[in-house]
């Protein structure tokens, strides 16, 4: 029954796909695939094929992963992964879940999960899904999403707001400057944006501290990559490009204090060498036959 139905279904699907219109490439691929299958279906003794519902699940997964890859790639620099792609990721998770849970109607042994996930050596669907999961974990995106992972958490929103504000502040002040000042002098930026920058910095530190208190293990010590990267860019701009954070270096008092402390042991050792009484040991003469007496004894004994 199954084998007889296949060509018809494939044709129907082909029509459906062709009707979908603008997306050219997947349709072509699908058509090619189907044609091949149609050809193989006619051959005697061929292998059992995928059931239609499994096929549609697989197609959905393929499209979902394509979309997620596209999103990740586009948002790689500056990093906006978690903000932009969490919808795609969630959908992909759901699709994978439905594949894993789906059971075909024909028989126990031909369910979708088995035929898609574990019937060959490569197991490409599993590999793909693992890759996405690992990437998501490494980016630590869960950290800046809400608990049900729908949308960004409040603190992240707040942080990104502040981040955008400080970026606009930088831009704003630089525009005014670029004309009349040399590019090395950014005092204007430093003065005007100091408040926003400090706020941003404090918020970041606060988030980090909260995060560290919440999670014990080493991995969750990181914030999500978007926030980390945003902060990184800002800090680099601030202290490298604008050269705004100039710490007061007070070398003279440090040298004075340290040389004082380093001088103390010398005084200590000298004074204890000069004033402390050297410990003397009292020698004790052992009670034993003295060597010269010894000789005499031996001589006496043998004489």
């Amino acid at each position: 029954l199954c084998r007889a139905l296949l060509p018809a279904l494939a044709l129907a699907l082909l029509g459906l796909a062709a009707a979908a219109g603008p997306r050219q490439t997947p349709v072509l691929e699908l058509a090619e695939e189907l044609a091949e299958e149609l050809w193989s279906a006619g051959l005697p003794g061929d292998l059992p094929e995928l059931e239609p519902e499994c096929r549609s699940l697989l197609a959905a997964f393929a499209e979902g992963s394509a979309a997620l890859t596209d999103c990740l790639g586009r948002r790689a620099r500056p990093v906006r992964l978690c903000q932009g792609c969490h919808g795609h990721y969630r959908r992909l998770l759901a699709q994978y879940g439905s594949i894993a849970r789906a059971v075909g109607n024909s028989s126990e042994s031909h369910n979708c999960a088995k035929s898609i996930l574990t019937s060959d050596r490569l197991q490409i669907v599993v590999t793909l899904s693992e890759f996405f999961n690992e990437t998501w974990e490494a980016a630590n995106c869960a950290n800046c999403l809400k608990n049900n992972s729908e949308g960004l958490s409040n603190s992240t929103e707040e942080f990104l707001d502040l981040f955008n504000k400080s970026l606009t502040c930088f831009e704003h002040n630089l525009q005014g400057q670029a004309i009349d000042l040399s590019p090395n002098n950014y005092t204007e930026v430093c003065k005007n944006c100091n408040e926003t920058y400090t706020k941003l910095n404090d918020l970041y530190n606060h988030l980090q501290r909260m995060n560290r208190q919440g999670g014990e293990s080493a991995h969750s010590a990181h914030l999500c990559i978007d926030v980390e990267d945003a902060m990184n860019i800002t800090r680099k701009l601030w202290s490298r490009t604008f050269n705004c954070s100039l710490p007061c270096s007070d070398t003279v008092p440090v040298i004075a204090v340290s040389s004082f402390i380093l001088f103390l042991p010398i005084v200590f050792y000298l004074s204890s060498f000069l004033h402390s009484k050297q410990k003397k040991r009292i020698l004790i003469l052992p009670k034993r036959i003295q060597s010269n007496a010894n000789l005499v004894n031996i001589q006496e004994k043998y004489s």
């Binding site: 270096s249 007070d250 008092p253 402390i261 042991p265 009292i282 020698l283 003469l285």
Partner: protein
Amino acid sequence: QLTPSSFLRIGQLSNVDLNEDIHELETEVPRQRPNEIPHNEKLLSLKYESLDYDNSENQLFLEEERRINHAAFRTVEIKRWVICAMIGILTGLVACFIDIVVENLAGLKYRVVKDNIDKFTAKGGLSFSLLLWATLNASVVMVGSLIVAFIEPVAAGSGIPQIKCYLNGVKIPHVVRLKTLVIKVCGVILSVVGGLAVGKEGPMIHSGSVIAAGISQGRSTSLKRDFKIFEYFRRDTEKRDFVSAGAAAGVSAAFGAPVGGVLFSLEEGASFWNQFLTWRIFFASMISTFTLNSVLSVYHGNAWDLSSPGLINFGRFDSEKMGYTIQEIPIFIFMGVVGGILGALFNALNYWLTMFRIRYIHRPCLQVVEAMLVAAVTATVGFVMIYCSRDCQPIQGSSVAYPLQLFCADGEYNSMATAFFNTPEKSVVNLFHDPPGSYNPMTLGMFTLMYFFLACWTYGLTVSAGVFIPSLLIGAAWGRLFGISLSYLTKGSIWADPGKYALMGAAAQLGGIVRMTLSLTVIMMEATGNVTYGFPIMLVLMTAKIVGDYFVEGLYDMHIQLQSVPFLHWEAPVTSHSLTAREVMSTPVTCLRRIERVGTVVDILSDTSSNHNGFPVVESNPDTTQVAGLRGLILRSQLIVLLKHKVFVERANLSVVQRRLKLKDFRDAYPRFPPIQSIHVSQDERECMIDLSEFMNPSPYTVPQEASLPRVFKLFRALGLRHLVVVDNRNEVVGMVTRKDLARYRLGKEGLEELSLAQT
């Protein structure tokens, strides 16, 4: 200057002044001036006595052994296992306690200092941060040093030399007391928190030994509690076995290396060994590391993970790039040579420093001041190094516990601070595992140099602290530097990972300083969790030892020698065959007769000029024509118990009801026998007689006068003797050989040299 006649007299007199610990000769010696010299390494102190590792097989003992049936022996055996399990568990728990407290206190300190530095970096006034750091360190170390200097000085240092001596058979006063344990544990915590260049691993070995000695006795004399259990084990022989188990458990808890622990006991400690004991010790070690592991896992919140087997974990060395190739082995051997030379330099410097300390800084308050100064200087050096360093690394992706920004750009941390602004254990692990490029060569070079001198200066202070971790740290720093320069020279390609070289450097440096071989190889192997490293580590340690021994001996042996401990090495000095027992022995010997007058016994025991501990018992034959042959040997402790219970011949005749003395009475008094002064003997009782034949050891070991020194030495070392009687061919006592008579011969730079005895 004994005349021949005085020599001939010895055999015939039954009651001459006799010896174990040797004191002045009698009046016939003309030069009696007290000879005072400054302390040097060629002395043997009278303070140290031997332990009685040889069982006194007297009648009481034989009777008791006969009474115990087969089943009872089995319970004794089971008790031994139970004790070993308890030793393991308690050692593990103590290690956990130290680890957790150190982690929290040090964390607190570093957070306070870091906040302070962050605050003053912005506003200026970093000198206050420096002062704060130095003061914090100095005050914490002051407390640690005060308790050691004033309450229990034997808790100073790593404790490994002391345990080594104890297992060798030297009784170091107070070394296995509960008080020592408490001081040791607190002292270690305080000195690590105080930021000294020290580790908490070495003292674990001492702690384990004290725990073992305490548990196996079933009582604590310090607390005056007797649990009335394990009474069978109340003697030196049994205690020694448990102490070796405790030392092994300590190593195992410190490094997560149970096999290394067993081998440590075997290599460093055990002069006496058997297979059953090995298996029991291994059991204790395993229990110890497992306890530590499970408790720490629960503490860190992942209860079933079991991921922290030791106080220090070197982390995992199993990634692809951590492997080594055949071509690298000559490089490792070269690192071993460097480690040996640097280790010898370390030891030589420490030798001079220790000598100076013994001679001039012997008052406790001076010692405390010195420790405080070292702590303050350590903080200052760290601060100055961090202040001057311009090596900044991005915070992102690194696992720095306390990133210190200082003059770095925002989002970066000072790389020097990961090395100095951290507990030494963490720094070691960072050096092993931080990705290539985390440190620049300048930072590593300066760090190695500074830390080398700091560690050398710190070891020997009156604080309890170990030398393992600082050595590893120095080695890891120069090893990493070596790895970086190697990959720089070869333009990167194959030997990319400096962590591997850091490990080999650490092994080389540690081997060069402590000169342990087998056990250290296994400890390092177990701590890295990678068996394939066994071969290069072994080569590195071998080279380091050979090179180092060429210059100066190992740190522990050096300190044992500086303490004037009569320590017996594996073998007699090689050129000592020409010496015979007759030249080695002390003579004349104070003997007791088999039935002796109480007054004589009391007089001999209370003679302050000769606090001998073993007395040959000779036949009490009244007529002088017959020779007084050797009948047995009795110990001071036994005599004191006899006097205390007034076991006199006359009293036994008078009162039939008097209880017969049992072995239990001797055990109850062990190990702190009362001094003779505390025993009151009335004038009447002085006239009584005391019969020693039941209590003396009737079969003491003897040698003829012609026995060579190596032969005597072998007997001593193998049997763990305390007294060896020298007899002539008529079985008359001629002399007595004790530990100090043997230990004084040593192979020096110009052949065989003889150490002098001194009162310390």
